[in-house]
């Protein structure tokens, strides 16, 4: 089927099978491999992207459901080579170890701050409950998000 999706500000017209998952669409059709697949079972959040500005797990959304909508992936966060404040905060606060969960964490965290610009530490922890870090670097991840909120 034909879909048209705006990804990171660029309109794409594509022909996909209806069963194509959004995560496979961005990774394999568009070549945007920053979005990771961790669990593939809706649990880990590594595949989080923004659909119309809100974090969703792209392994649990059909590309067809994003037809006519706007998607932002981790590649769309920096502007003109300058990192998004959330990416900057992760770098400054050692919010990543192996980095596998990081794209999803950044997408979930920016979505969280949009809904709650000044969260408490507890609200950050609860707000990121859909994202797992196998390196268990949660402490610095939370620190990074609080630092980004304070910016």
């Amino acid at each position: 089927m034909k879909i048209s999706v705006t990804v990171n500000g660029t309109a794409h017209e594509s022909d996909v099978e209806p069963r194509t998952l959004l995560v496979h669409y961005v990774r394999e059709v568009l070549g945007l491999t920053g979005t990771n697949i961790g669990c593939d079972t809706s649990s880990c959040g590594a595949c989080s992207v923004h659909l119309n500005g809100e974090a969703v797990k792209s392994c649990t959304v059909l590309a067809a459901q994003a037809d006519g909508q706007s998607v932002t992936t981790i590649e769309g966060m920096a502007t003109d080579g300058v990192m998004h404040p959330m990416q900057q905060a992760f770098m400054e606060n050692h919010g990543l170890q192996c980095g596998y969960c990081t794209p999803g964490m950044v997408m979930a965290a920016t979505s969280l701050l949009k809904e709650n610009p000044n969260p408490t530490e507890e609200e950050v922890r609860i707000g990121l409950e859909g994202n797992l870090c196998r390196c268990t670097g949660y402490h610095n991840i939370v620190k990074s998000v609080l630092a980004a909120a304070a910016k």
């Binding site: 089927m1 099978e17 209806p18 069963r19 194509t20 998952l21 496979h24 593939d40 079972t41 809706s42 649990s43 959040g45 989080s48 659909l51 809100e54 974090a55 969703v56 797990k57 392994c59 649990t60 959304v61 059909l62 067809a64 459901q65 037809d67 979930a108 979505s111 969280l112 809904e115 609860i126 707000g127 409950e129 859909g130 994202n131």
Partner: protein, 274 residues
């Protein structure tokens, strides 16, 4: 993991969705938020031949004060239920329970109608709306009908909905200041409840329903009758599992679930009695 191949059609209205599902027969399914259906399809536990996407039927996404009840469109997402000022005022138990569904990403996609139509006894909103005495509205090829929550759940993932009927609205009576509590016992953040309890109390009246204590959400009527008859909270809570028939699974044995139900119903009633 990818689902088995299917045909995808998108409906612009409830009437169009019902006509599309009728045209495609038994193998077709509605797709709302997809957060129960797509995981099942990826595991090939479900393989519908046609998906009728109702996710864009935006006129079924609303929360309205309708006098004695609040009317909620079936396509209203969990996040919008959680944040609704109208629900926080008139049915705070439901808004609160919605905030415990999965995680924010799940709540950005999943809908209250999908959760109820899916009729999973482990889900939070079927039991919560059952405790609140909700009525569901279903639309089919021959018009609409109302189904009491108490008549809706027929068995594991089985509801009173016919294959060509769409759930369109959930009607929740106003709580009128009743005390309430939502208890969800799980081991990890984001998980389904091992056992959950939704409860409210107002003067002699009460409603208590259990999550994951049988093949359907369970209305704990013995607890409510005991309270109405003047029993103490701790005595009434001993009857928590009287209507339940919990399963053994990886997370908990039957005995443990019965124990949890009693403890959680006591806690819920204590909180709702404050």
């Amino acid at each position: 993991m990818i689902p088995a191949a299917f045909e995808y059609v998108r409906a612009g209205s409830a009437a169009e969705a019902i006509s599309l599902i009728g045209q495609h027969g038994d193998e077709a399914k509605f797709l709302a938020g997809g957060h129960s259906l797509l995981p099942l399809m990826k595991l090939r536990l479900a393989a519908p031949s046609v998906l009728v996407d109702i996710g864009r039927v935006s006129d079924l996404s609303y929360i309205r004060d309708a006098g004695d009840h609040i009317a909620i469109g079936a396509l209203t997402r969990h996040m919008d239920v959680e944040n609704s000022a109208v629900l926080k005022e008139h049915a705070p138990l439901l808004a609160h329970a919605a905030s415990h569904v999965g995680d924010p990403q799940v709540r950005h996609r999943g809908t209250i109608g999908g959760s109820i139509a899916h009729a999973d006894s482990a889900s939070d909103l079927p039991a919560t709306t059952l405790a609140l005495g909700a009525t569901y509205v279903a639309q089919g090829p021959n018009g609409t009908r109302e189904i009491a929550a108490t008549d809706f759940y027929h068995g594991f993932l089985q509801s009173a909905l016919a294959a060509d009927e769409m759930l369109t609205e959930i009607r929740v009576p106003k709580m009128q200041g009743a005390g309430w509590s939502f208890q969800k016992f799980n081991r990890r953040a984001q998980d389904w409840a091992i056992v959950g309890v939704a409860a409210w109390r107002r003067n002699g009246d009460s409603g208590v329903a259990l999550v994951n204590m049988g093949s359907t959400p369970i209305l704990a009527t013995s607890v409510a009758s005991a309270l109405a008859g003047g029993a103490s909270v701790s005595d009434a809570a001993q009857l928590a599992a009287a209507e339940a028939d919990p399963q053994n699974d990886l997370n908990a044995s039957q005995e443990y679930r019965v124990h949890l139900a009693k403890v959680l119903v006591r806690r819920a009633l204590e909180e709702a009695s404050k």
